[in-house]
């Protein structure tokens, strides 16, 4: 995982090679891409559902804070590191 953190102004979007769907066997969301899949925890799934290329990370974090009734300050590092990890793997694209 990269040390750099993405800017809060970034508008992440799922890469075209991915497909986000519910896995009926585990009832968890899974991010599919060629030959592989990434099983997501509820936070990861919630983050990716917001990654539509329209919302900035700042907006996404604020929305997640409401959804999970959590503190945006606490959520921020977790979201940023998750998003950067997926950008590095080419699973998320980052419109500036």
């Amino acid at each position: 995982m990269s040390a750099e953190a993405p800017s809060l102004e970034l508008k992440p979007k799922l890469a075209p090679k991915t497909k986000l769907r519910l896995d009926p066997k585990t009832n968890k969301y899974i991010l599919l891409y060629p030959e592989k899949g990434l099983l997501l925890n509820p936070t990861g799934a919630a983050i990716l559902k917001h990654c539509d290329g329209e919302q900035t990370l700042a907006v996404i974090i604020a929305a997640l804070a409401v959804e999970f009734q959590g503190d945006a300050e606490v959520l921020r590092p977790e979201v940023l590191s998750f998003v950067q990890g997926l950008i590095d793997r080419g699973l998320l694209q980052a419109a500036p």
């Binding site: 890469a15 599919l32 060629p34 080419g90």
Partner: protein
């Protein structure tokens, strides 16, 4: 079957027919004994049964899947089941309009193979004129906004051009570059001495692939699959026998891997006779190498037995004559000499014949 055994990927080998004759083809050498026997309805039923079992990924493979005239229908069926469908193709024979139709039918992604970065070499390995068409197909895939994987099987005769291959992948703007060293089974085993690279070639290629992976991070996913002949520990073949994958052959056999039907003494069921669910859960052949009960020493007490599952059953059989032996690719195998001798022979390029035996529909 343990609760950990969960089908994720169905590999549909729609036909063993192929316009190419690659000398390392992973289809069985007796491929003529497995003609296309499944109808469109059969395949669609198999897809539905696989989805029911939990499969999320569908590889449409072969042979050359484009030779199935009902491919559009099969893709549409897969799409209706919400599969991530990956077309694994040589790119022949294909016209742009058909690719548009496949996309419209819901195809998720396309994997195109080339055999080398140099047109003449690529055509020589493929056994026919095909390189120009392959690049054309790769461009169409990108123009149509479909995700593109470029697959190149690596061996002694193209490994030194890995930097050129990476550059070509960049020019084509691929999403994924699969640099897969040859698995020495089936046709590749027959051509092993002409294909197995030297340690020096492999070390140089690995460094270039590593640098490319880092440099292209976030743009192109670069995969470099080390040949097990040089890794000292075996591959976790298919992530374990009957654990994550199920493959259906053109004539309807349900297998745990591409070559399981080459193993003696195993009775594989046909999808025309039993449901995938029954086969996955109850077939004796799927049970044969699941778990650890079948394992010999040194696997049985090895701390890596849950990591590599004793390696590849087909490699064990085709090299040692015993499908239940430790994969000889493992440095701990009593038969590891079979691997180290082949490796030793690969270090003296002057002594190596480069002639290839091409895939053919014999017998």
């Amino acid at each position: 079957m343990s609760t950990e055994d969960r089908l994720y990927t169905l590999i549909a080998e729609l036909t063993y027919l192929c316009p190419l004759r690659c000398a390392y083809c992973s289809n069985p050498t007796n491929l003529a004994a497995h003609p296309d026997r499944l109808s469109t309805a059969d395949w669609l039923r198999v897809f539905a049964q696989a989805a029911e079992l939990g499969a999320l990924q569908l590889n449409l493979s072969g042979g050359e899947p484009l030779l199935r005239r009902d491919l559009e229908e099969l893709v549409a069926g897969a799409s209706a089941l919400d599969f991530y469908s990956n077309l694994i193709t040589s790119g022949l024979p294909l016209e742009r309009e058909r690719l548009v139709r496949l996309k419209d039918a819901g195809l998720s992604s396309v994997q195109v193979s080339i055999q080398d970065s140099q047109p003449a070499e690529s055509d020589r390995i493929a056994g026919r004129n095909s390189f120009a068409q392959k690049l054309e197909v790769a461009r169409w895939v990108k123009e149509l906004d479909l995700p593109l994987t470029l697959n190149v099987v690596l061996h002694r005769q193209n490994l030194d051009r890995i930097a050129e291959i990476v550059a070509l992948a960049e020019r084509l703007n691929v999403d994924r570059l699969e640099l897969a060293n040859t698995q020495y089974l089936a046709w590749a085993l027959e051509n092993r001495s002409a294909l197995l690279p030297s340690q020096a070639q492999l070390d140089a290629a690995r460094e270039i692939a590593k640098a490319a992976k880092e440099r292209l991070k976030g743009k192109i996913e670069v995969l470099f699959v080390l040949p097990d002949y040089y890794s000292d520990r075996p591959k976790a073949c298919m992530s374990g026998w009957g654990k994550r994958y199920l493959l259906v052959t053109p004539d309807g056999l349900a297998l745990p891997c591409h070559l399981a039907h080459s193993l003696p003494g195993l009775q594989f069921d046909n999808v025309q006779e039993r449901s995938l669910d029954e086969i996955w859960r109850h077939s004796a052949a799927f049970a044969a190498f699941r778990g650890e009960a079948w394992m010999p020493e040194p696997c049985k007490s090895c701390d890596r037995r849950a990591i590599d599952f004793g390696g590849c059953r087909c490699q064990a059989f085709h090299l040692t004559g015993d499908a239940a032996a430790t994969d000889p690719a493992c440095g701990l195998s009593p038969k590891h000499g079979l691997i180290s001798e082949a490796r030793a022979a690969a270090q003296h390029p002057a002594l190596i014949p480069l002639g290839l035996r091409y895939r053919e529909m014999r017998r």
